[in-house]
Subunit: 259 residues, 2 copies
């Protein structure tokens, strides 16, 4: 049986204010929880069904994580999902750590997100970064919180591997003098006509307003995804932010592999 | 003032059973509603604020659409969105019409979706098809209903232009003998090593299980998006279904443009 205080603490972590107060977030489901357990994150507690605990005991013991057997009706109370899964982890939000290899634009690609508001988009972008081996995602301070439960779930475990950092983008980009900063615009040069390399920063703008004006001075190349619409019937005006990110990252990697 | 019956009718259209009974669906927001008004769809009624009606009167008059001035508190009752917009349209579900140009794999690309369950994914895929000039999306009968309000909203208006047809995929694919049928797999040949053309069918599978076994015999080429993970830290196991669709469609179009 969980105590009232435990239930209150865990459900509070659905709210940003309390995540910032307790410096913890929640993650649910077998895949996501096991990836976090086996990552650099510190898992503060596991709330799970008896079956899950029995099946995963060696892993939990090895990591010395406090576990709490949780009944299905208790899982329903603490879960942020429509349908609770058999396991929920409370995870510590890491403090600022020295930049790992890959943060430096001299040695790789960085994604910089300007005011991404939709939790599903941010989570999906973190998953895309992971797929394409981009180790660092910079988020403007106006982006949705990366520890929002919907973001964490949408990463499908990639949050355990991709370093997501909130910062002032103008400040950070101003320190990257000499590296290419690519900005995704509806009106830019085709990504297929650009000499994209494996170095630099890719800036992705807000879902409806695109890249903010204050960032434009830092953009060295405006890039675009060509559309292929039938001019008779009109066409989509834009692509979803995470979809655009995926196409751009794929093209950077294709050029890197094939050229 | 809307009548109780109007409110009941509109809210019922959030449920598949009633959409199939009334052969109508709802769409909300200025952009989506105006794109539907200016499309081949028949808009059966517009429910909007006085301001919206005044601003858009010429368009509505021209199309002879019944309009109902709706108070904000009434909009909240009929809306399927978290925050109601100033306009909601009730739209007739079209009957089967002769296939428009582009349905034939001899003259273009077709997307075939096998068991896509997430409404956001289906809506985003319809938007991607529109961007890349793919006029036809075939959905297996197990896919989420394309007239589900969440799907309609996620298309951002592209549902007005892309023909979405539910059918038995094995039956339909078996009639397309002689055309390439590409299937997206985690283990396939790299899309970058394939002679992709502007003709054929691209099959996208379920979010967690991929392409079903019963479709495999119809697939002539298994294709894959190369990942670029850091082998030390592991990597994402897969990409979201709509993200994978976007990268594949972009590569088909790139090859078509540049080769």
């Amino acid at each position: 049986m969980l105590s009232q205080n435990q239930v209150k603490h865990i459900t509070a972590l659905g709210i940003k204010k309390y995540r910032e107060e307790y410096l913890q977030f929640i993650a649910e489901g077998h895949k996501l929880v096991t990836e976090l357990i086996n990552s650099d994150f510190t898992v503060a507690g596991i709330y799970a069904s008896a079956e899950w605990l029995v099946a995963n005991l060696p892993m939990i013991r090895q990591k010395n994580i406090p576990v709490f057997e949780t009944l299905p009706r208790e899982m329903e109370r603490i879960s942020a999902l429509a349908t609770a899964s058999p396991v929920l982890a409370v995870v510590d939000i890491p403090g600022l750590t020295p930049a790992p290899p890959g943060v430096n634009p001299a040695t790789g690609l960085i994604l910089a997100l300007d005011d991404i508001r939709d939790p599903g988009n941010l989570g999906t972008i973190i998953r895309i970064a992971d797929w394409f081996g981009i180790g660092t995602v910079l988020c403007s301070e106006s982006c949705v919180d990366q520890y929002n439960p919907k973001v964490v779930q949408a990463t499908m475990g990639s949050i355990a591997r991709v370093r997501v950092t909130r910062c002032s983008l103008p400040e950070t980009l101003s320190t990257l003098d000499g590296y290419p900063v690519y900005g995704a615009f509806l009106e830019g040069e085709s990504i297929y006509d650009q000499p994209l390399t494996g170095q630099g920063v890719i800036v992705i703008g807000n879902e409806s307003r695109g890249i903010s004006q204050e960032l434009e001075p830092f953009i060295s190349r405006k890039i675009s995804i060509p559309s292929y619409g039938n001019s008779l019937s009109g066409k989509a005006e834009s692509l979803n932010a995470s979809v655009a990110t995926a196409i751009i990252c794929a093209e950077f990697r294709r050029k890197g592999i094939n050229n």
